[in-house]
């Protein structure tokens, strides 16, 4: 039917019974269920080791899941169609050491199916957005930490994904770039892109996210709007929510808080 795009009817992300047990026996995700509606700015918060990065890796085809199902806009996350729709900036920079900034972007566009012309065009645009013009012909190992982070973000957005996953994108990033980044990401979201954000900056999550899930022990332990979470945990700030949710879980598990 004209005007009805199936990608907008389906949730951007649907996860059912997702379980991941690593080879060493660690249960990173424990039958996790999650829906992220299309077009939402979604926050995923939790302590280190809670399962955030494993969940992101399952969505982006970077781990072998033990059980469950992951759908991206209604398509299995492992399908070529789903992979084209996702862009991820991982927590730690993982840049190709042999490529310059411009090459890294152009080749990424190629891997994700852009034509050469479109990839070049997008690379130049991203170089400007992330203020990398002076370093466009420099290889990744010669970039500073902040510049690598910017390149990582530029690469995640280059192929115009419908679902953008940002895993701790502003860790180690100066305040100026952080503001620029959020301005740009908010614009993308207004244009219809779904954003999934993990961050340890809770004030950032509160300001940006419409919907937040708290993850601990490989499960979603709470989910609501920032205001809804505060009501649920009788807290004034998201930081209090976070601390109470994590402390509550530890008490249930019998561990010292």
């Amino acid at each position: 039917m004209p005007g009805l795009n199936p990608e907008n009817r389906e949730p951007a992300l649907r996860v059912r019974g997702l379980t991941k047990r690593y080879d060493d026996g660690t249960m990173a995700l424990d039958a996790l269920d999650l829906d992220v509606p299309s077009g939402e700015f979604f926050g995923l918060l939790g302590p280190n080791g809670a399962g955030k990065t494993t969940l992101i890796s399952a969505v982006t085809n970077l781990i072998r899941i033990t059980a469950g199902e992951v759908l991206v806009f209604g398509r299995p996350a492992t399908s070529l169609e789903a992979r084209r729709l996702v862009g991820v900036a991982e927590q730690d920079p993982n840049l190709d050491r042999f490529l310059t900034v411009r090459e890294a972007l152009v080749y990424h566009g190629g891997y994700f199916g852009l034509t050469k012309e479109r990839s070049l065009e997008r690379a130049e645009a991203m170089i400007d957005v992330f203020d990398l013009r002076a370093k466009a012909d420099v290889r990744a190992p010669k970039l500073s930490g902040g510049q690598r982070r910017r390149l990582q973000l530029a690469r995640a957005l280059l192929h115009e994904p419908r679902l953008v996953i940002l895993d701790e994108p502003t860790a180690g990033v100066d305040i100026e770039l952080r503001r620029e980044l959020w301005r740009y990401i908010r614009r993308l979201q207004r244009e219809g892109t779904t954003i999934v954000l993990t961050t340890h900056y809770l004030e950032e999550a509160e300001a940006l996210c419409e919907d937040i899930a708290l993850i601990a022990g490989g499960r979603i332990v709470a989910r609501s709007t920032p205001a809804g979470l505060k009501r649920q945990f009788d807290a004034k700030t998201l930081e209090e929510v976070y601390l109470r949710a994590v402390a509550g879980l530890r008490m249930r598990e019998g561990a010292p808080s």
């Binding site: 970077l62 169609e81 199916g113």
Partner: protein, 263 residues
């Protein structure tokens, strides 16, 4: 204006092309290591062994010694290039985790495997062509069966390129991939008849040479150049093809299952 692309279906061939291009670009950027050094060392072998010893060893299998060793030396250089290129490329990609950009991309597993393997084939073929041009000028080595030579070279780059992928995926340190090259590939190639015909070896060394898988690759290439082989042509090509298919299947298994590539 939408922030997204309009094209609905991914084009995995375009993705594969870019991955192949990336692997070839890496070879070109590192040309002194990837091209110049192996060509110089192989030419030195031809000069030192062929032209100096060639005066003392008149003929082997009916060919002047300097001509006789050229096919084996070219095969050895191409094998090492295809192996080293792919094992180091994929090991670095795993170590720095930029392989995630490939694993997340809309490509089928066999297309990822092909893309990662192509650099070794590209490097091996460039080295082979450079050595052929130089060796032809120095020794006048003929090409008796061009089509069979092309098949032998194809089998060689598939076998050693795939072996490089497998070792690069299993390697936990950079030393592991050099270990396989120095302790397995290089010695087996040397005793696989690069510098001599195994027919001159006494028993049991002659029989043992037939158990060396690289003996068949060297003889496939030699047959393509000189039209002579220590064993039947059918057997040497059949063993070479069987090895190439087996190792390529192993490499594909690793990409299909994600074993050691994805936790």
């Amino acid at each position: 204006m939408s922030a997204h692309r309009d094209d609905a279906s991914p084009d995995p061939w375009r993705s594969t092309y870019w991955l192949c291009a990336r692997e070839c670009l890496r070879v070109s950027k590192l040309w002194t290591q990837t091209m110049l050094a192996p060509v110089i060392s192989s030419i030195l072998f031809i000069l030192v062994f062929g032209l100096s010893l060639g005066g003392r060893i008149r003929e082997v299998a009916g060919f002047p010694y300097d001509e006789f060793i050229v096919p084996g030396l070219i095969a050895m250089a191409m094998a090492q290039a295809a192996y080293s290129n792919n094992s180091s490329s994929i090991f670095q990609a795993r170590s720095d985790r930029y392989i995630n950009d490939v694993l997340a991309a809309p490509m089928r597993s066999w297309q990822m495997n092909l893309g990662m393997a192509i650099g070794g084939a590209y490097r091996g073929l460039l080295i082979g062509l450079a050595l052929l041009a130089l060796a032809a000028a120095l020794t006048g080595v003929p090409i008796a069966h061009p089509l069979l030579l092309a098949i032998a070279v194809l089998l060689l780059v598939v076998l050693f390129g795939a072996l490089g992928i497998v070792v690069g995926i299993y390697a936990e340190t950079f030393d592991h991939h050099t270990f396989i090259n120095n302790i397995v590939i290089l010695p087996l190639t040397f005793v696989g008849g690069v510098f001599y015909s195994v027919d001159i070896l006494p028993s049991p060394w002659q029989e043992l040479s037939h158990a060396n898988p690289l003996f068949y690759i060297v003889n496939s290439v030699r047959y393509g150049f000189l039209g002579t082989s220590d064993v039947s042509v059918g057997l040497t090509f059949a063993v070479s093809a069987a090895m190439a298919i087996a190792v390529a299947a192993w490499s594909q298994y690793l990409f299909s299952t994600g074993h050691r590539l994805k936790p």
